[in-house]
Every structure is written in C-alpha cells, then in structure tokens.
Subunit: 287 residues, 2 copies
C-alpha cells in the first residue's frame, strides 16, 4: 500500500515537470504534491489488479483522478467558494500564488487529467481508454462533483434532510472515488460484471469516506486533521453527525463498510486484500 502511494507520488511528480511558464507549474505542483493520502489513486491501482491487470497500466488513470481531486480542492478553497486558508497543513493555493493563478492552476490540472489519461495510458485498447475518459468526465461535471458542490453551496444556512445530504456527498465525493475504481477496472481489462461490482463497492466506500470526514470534523483538532476542524459546525453545515447524531453516524459508517466487503466477496480473496484493507482504512482513519 505504501509502495503504491510512493509510485503514485513519483508518477505525479513526473506528470507535471517544472517547465515554463514556471509560475503555473509551481502552483500546480504545490497542491498536487502536497502529500495527500492518495486514497483514490491507490484504489484505482488496486481495482486494476483485482480484475487481473498489471497495475502499471492504471497509473495514468490514478494520476488523472488525483489531478481532478486536487483541482477541486484548489477551486473549493477560493475566497468566492469556501474561503479556506489551510489545506493539508499548508497555506491554500491562492494564499501562496494569488487567486487568478489558483483558478488557472485548477483549470490546467482538470484539463491535464484528461490529456494525461489519453496520452500516457499504454498497452490498453483505445476503446477502453475512451471509456475511462468518459467515466472520469461524468464524475467531475455538472452531474458529478460540480453538481455536489452547487447543491452544497445553495443549501448552506438552510435545513438539509438526509436524502439531500446524501445527494451532496455522493456527488462531491463518491463519484470521483467511483471513477477511480471503475476506471482502474476498465483499463485493467475487467469484464462487465466485474466493473459493475467495483462500481457498487466504490459507491459504498465513497459515501463512507464523507461520513467519516464529517465525524472527524467534530471529533478531532485542526492539528490532528491538518486542516481547520469544527468548520462544519461553525458554518452551520449539514453533516451526518448533526442530522443523525454521532453514534448513529458511526453505525451508518459500519454498515457501509459491510456492504463494501460484501461486493468484494465475489473476487479472489488474495487479490481483493488491498481493497478490503482500503475499506477498513477509510472507515477507521484518524485524519
């Protein structure tokens, strides 16, 4: 697992060399190489291996997903959005490079994700590359990540019920995780049934990821998290602990892990081990 994270970091470092114009590449690298947990890329590589692919073929897909995740963080942190100053324990992108560069760095990463996937994926049929690109696009656009963000924004200060909250999280978080896992399975050569099973696994994990995030926000300090804690409460944002109570939110997280495990039981136990491990990691992480 740690090995996979190192490979992903190396690949990301290579994917955005410090060429001219330097300012934009510095800004892109600053956020992309800021030491995230690389959960999405690792899931992508693990899904590829689960269906029998060499994990090298999924490295461009893994990088593409992380580029998109990074772009969403950069734009999310902008003054006109969440106006956040700290991210992963460091000043946010616009705090260091200015707002206009931060907007452009996000745009460049978003575009590079698709280009990188198209250009760097080798030993995979073009047909599968096109499918992976479509998968990635649907995770980001106005029925993916952006949909989640817009509904999230427009619901601030309003009463949000559980189904609206789930809509937000499915779109803001789960869809990109889904693209990572499904994309990994596609470039890995997975069959239709395998890909769909991976999709259901990813949906549980994606939602789980956000439920745990909400729980951590109310139970941990800023220092432990590497970002501003208690922010959801301060901004009166709807969260699982707020709507269900902390105990029920923890129980819900447990149910999601179980469902995810169930989907994995279809596959070879040894090959599925990393994905079992990742589900547990997401469920029980401390930051």
């Amino acid at each position: 697992m740690a090995m996979k994270a190192i490979r992903v970091n190396e690949a990301l470092n290579d994917a955005v060399p410090l060429r001219k114009p330097e300012m934009i590449h510095e800004a892109m690298r600053y956020s992309l190489l800021a030491g995230g947990k690389r959960v999405r890329p690792i899931l992508c590589l693990a899904a590829c291996e689960l269906v029998g692919g060499e994990d090298t073929v999924a490295v461009p897909m893994a990088c593409a997903v992380e580029m998109i995740h990074t772009m969403s963080l950069i734009h999310d942190d902008l003054p006109c959005m969440d106006n956040d100053d700290i991210r992963r324990g460091k000043p946010t992108n616009h705090k260091v490079f200015g707002e206009e560069t931060a907007v452009l760095a996000g745009d460049a990463l978003l575009s590079l994700a698709f280009e990188h996937l198209a250009v760097k994926t080798v030993n995979v049929s073009s047909n599968r590359v096109v499918r992976a690109i479509a998968e990635l696009g649907s995770a980001v656009g106005s029925e993916g990540l952006v949909a989640g963000q817009i509904v999230d924004i427009s619901s601030e200060g309003k009463r949000v019920n559980l189904s609206e909250l789930e809509y937000i999280h499915v779109h803001k978080t789960a869809k990109l995780l889904e693209a990572a896992v499904v994309g990994g399975a596609i470039v890995g050569g997975g069959g239709g049934n395998e890909v769909e099973r991976m999709r259901r696994y990813a949906r549980c994990i994606g939602l789980l990821f956000q439920v745990v995030d909400d729980i951590l926000d109310v139970t941990k300090s800023s220092e432990e998290l590497g970002k501003t804690a208690g922010k959801d409460l301060a901004t009166d944002k709807a969260t699982y602990p707020k709507l269900m109570g902390l105990d029920k939110a923890k129980k819900f997280a447990g149910e999601l892990v179980d469902k995810a495990m169930e989907e994995l039981s279809y596959f070879d136990v040894a090959r599925a081990a990393p994905l079992y491990h990742l589900a547990n990691y997401i469920a029980y992480r401390q930051n």
Copy 2:
C-alpha cells in the same frame, strides 16, 4: 456557413439540457448559448470535410471546442481575473449567477468537453478519438490556453516585446483554434500530411484572429463589438497596434491570411472553399 452555425447551436443546446441541479445548467447554458460567432466549431467541421469526412462525425469535437472556449471566457471575466461586466452584449456569467457558480460552470464545461467528445463521437475509431482528446487537452492546459493567460496576466503593466506578445496570443487563442482544425481533420480520417498542413493553416488563422481582435479593440465602439471597447488601451495592455502601429498590424494580418491560403492550395479547391472563406471572414470581420 450559416447552416453549420445553426447545426452547432442545436448540438450545443442538446449537449447541455436544463436538468437538475438547474442552477449550474442554467449558468452553463447562459454563456454557451449566448450567440458567439462559432468560428472554432465551424472551422472544425470544415476541416473534417476537407479531408473527406462526413461533417456529422466532427460535431462532438466542434461542440467540445466551443465548450472550452466558453469556459475560458467565463473564468477570464471573473473579478479576480479581467473583471469584465459585459460579454457578447450581455452581463457576464458571474454578474448573473454569482462568482462561485461561475467558477463551477467553467469547470463543468471544461470537463464536459472531454466527456462529450469521448461519449458522443460515433463512426470514428477509438484510436482517433483518443488522439482528438489529447489534441484538445494540449490546447487548454498549462502549455496551451492557461499558459497564455498566466503570461498575459504577469505581463500586465510591464513592457512586452513582440515575441512575448506572440507567445501570449499563440497560447491564448491560436492553440484552441488549432485543436479545432486538427481535431476535425483527425476525426474526419485525415492522413498525417493533411493533419500537419491543417495545423499550419490553423496557426496562421489563430494568430490572425487575435491580431484582428486587437485592431478592432482600438477601431470600434463597445456597441459595435458587443463588449467593452478600448479596454486594452485603458488597462495598458500590449497589443499589436500598440507595438507595431495600426498600419503595420493590418499588414501583418494580411500576411497571415496569405500564408493560411498557401496551406490550403494543397487541397481540392471546392472542398477548401469554406476554409478560404473563413480565413477571409476572420481577417475582415467587423466585430
């Protein structure tokens, strides 16, 4: 030509239906369907036909290019960027929908461009679709449009020489036109030589487009242009008329048209007619 523009408008309208969440789709449609000249999509379809393709196969590519062009305008107009209030004779996106929605509408259009190209291109080999996606990506990213914008921003208020100005325009404008033309030729089934000739044609046309834009900015009123005129002068921006003088800028525009025509002379005259016409249109347009 007018027929092609109508088809592109219809295809764009279909590509972004008014589904939920409505706010983001309204914002996307507001700028995408604001009645641009559709020069890039028309060039794309014409390039496809020039190399012998049915123009229908290039419609998704044409739409993708226009989505990216629109996204660049929305982000460019943001308060932290050019801070523009009027675009195509209407209030800019953030003036109508707010800054956060404008950022997200741009992101959604950028992502949709790639997804649309991957999902909607039919009767073209996946291999060519992947090449077209790569072409589009390189036109947008940190060595394309974004590179042009970042250098443009960082040169404001500084003395810029002609080669720096050309760098800005090649990246801000010409690269996307190049992707439109080259992408059209790729999905249209063009051979290597044809694609490269189309690339050189596009480079002339792309630069021409910006030179003419600069000229119009100093010679026309806001009303005639449908956007704020004289803005380049007011913000002390480097332009061709400023660096060369208006007459030499006009002469330079003429040379670029001639070079573009030269590349077309390689092709069948009847088939190349729309591209001759477009070069003339770009050179002699009044807004």
